[in-house]
Subunit: 298 residues, 2 copies
């Protein structure tokens, strides 16, 4: 450890097609020069490596438990101290890996990352930021894309600040922010959207409500919403187009590089997520987002 190579900790047990598709994805990422360490049940991971015709090709760190998709992630992680996602997050905390990738429960990944890595200064609630390719060629940062199903209006202000910081790191100058809603008029939406709109008005760059077609057009650089609505938006766009869900999303607000891959990810999507994680680590993405957050409020 400690060398210059960026090593990615991959939760071998997370995702609908784990461990086979995850292990196969790790091998593909490795073939492109990314260091990967697999975390999970040693027997199951060894069998998957064997099946892929590559026994002992990758380092494995043992973890005896798994957070299932149907479990309450926060509760499961309190009781399952040897869960693969938790052990993988601790590899990043200890410096043995530079980034974490999981295709398992998003809530579980967020909780494990929070427990092992902690929050960025000034962040109350981490969230998932997804990049949506827009019709005019830009990338729209969607926050929260599925981290926390419930959110208070105040949380959406934090999402907007983290999303704007991420957009700035990606190259946006003075990013514009929109609130995902069912109409562009200020009074539209449910109780959460109306209250969030009132709070967001105080934020530089806030342009008001944006409807789904506006997000997909690229009308704003950052779109904020609660994690339930954001995830429904993302999954609907993906189901209709067949494309949006291929790429991994980043966890914003934790002190380290953490990416969530699609639960249904196949080997190629896992490999792509691992490459993205290595890039994020090499670029020091989470540190830059933290710096932008401090600059934005300073």
């Amino acid at each position: 450890m400690g060398g210059p190579a960026v090593r990615v900790a991959l939760d071998a047990m997370g995702g609908d097609h784990a461990p086979a598709a995850v292990v196969e994805g790790a091998l593909r990422a490795r073939a492109k020069g990314v260091e990967v360490v697999l975390v999970g049940d040693p027997g199951a991971v060894a069998a998957a490596l064997n099946d892929a015709g590559a026994p002992d090709a990758l380092p494995v760190v043992a973890a005896s438990e798994v957070v299932d998709m149907g479990e309450d992630a926060a509760f499961a992680l309190r009781t399952k101290r040897d869960a693969s996602i938790r052990v993988a997050a601790e590899l990043v905390a200890s410096g043995e890996a530079a980034a974490l990738v999981s295709a398992g429960s998003t809530g579980g990944t967020l909780t494990a990352a929070l427990l092992a890595l902690g929050r960025v200064t000034g962040v109350r609630r981490p969230a998932v930021g997804a990049l949506i390719p827009s019709m005019r060629g830009s990338r729209v940062v969607l926050v929260d894309a599925g981290g926390s199903a419930d959110a208070q209006p105040e949380a959406l202000v934090g999402y907007a600040r983290m999303g704007a910081a991420y957009a700035e790191v990606l190259g946006s100058v003075a990013p514009t922010i929109g609130l995902l809603n069912v109409g562009v008029e200020a009074g539209k939406g449910n109780t959460l959207a109306k209250a969030a709109h009132r709070l967001l008005r105080e934020l530089p760059g806030f342009m008001g409500n944006v409807e789904p077609d506006g997000v997909l057009y690229g009308a704003v650089d950052v779109t904020v919403t609660d994690g339930f609505t954001g995830n429904v938006f993302l999954k609907t766009a993906e189901a209709v187009s067949g494309g949006y869900g291929d790429r991994a999303a980043i966890v914003l607000g934790v002190a380290g590089e953490v990416l969530v891959a699609h639960g249904a990810a196949r080997a190629e999507e896992v490999a792509e997520a691992v490459r993205m994680a290595a890039e994020a680590a090499a670029a020091g993405l989470s540190g830059k987002v933290a710096a932008e957050l401090i600059r934005g409020t300073g």
Copy 2:
């Protein structure tokens, strides 16, 4: 009045392109044999008829006020007693028209319909039912597609019952019901979805959670969700595909035929909504849905 022809009351002032596109749509529906009465500002409607080269081609009922898209519909309708949507709904209540169509504020249409026509017995909260064409060729009833932005878990049980009754009228035998969610496992979702899931389990035909791809595949006959999430789902699918939003949606749970057209509807979509309304009236759709609701609980 009182003849055998089905007459549709059309809110000439509702929608992004009103009154021009609405009046043009009315003329197209009229050309296909549907009787239409326009409701709105007489000067504006006459000008639109003139612009369309058809002065005096359609009957006009005067209404001096309009519910704007940015207004709180329930509040606006209490103060604007001569709002076009309210006058149009009263034409249905008095029997001067057999159905109501508006491309204006969905909340306004729902409130006006409720005030003028009342609820179907056993219905606590009316909702909007949209038909989603599925990949396997079926039509999925989505309730609530945008009637009420906020909903309590109990309301979703009512939506499921109304949606199932509508599906039965459309020909489904023992329709299956799903709860729109971000995962298929029972514990998934926000507070509303989790609580609704527990209540819906008691309902015949309930299959559990369904993700956006499942809805679009046609995994269930009826999908229930709150009006905010339903509208985001519909608008996202429509923005990506360019198609789902063309058709009007029906208001379920009010004692009369009421259809909401897309706010951005152009003439052809308005004409199609008017044709759908005439069909619904000829078939006595709302009465059949009411009968199915009574049968379902009897």
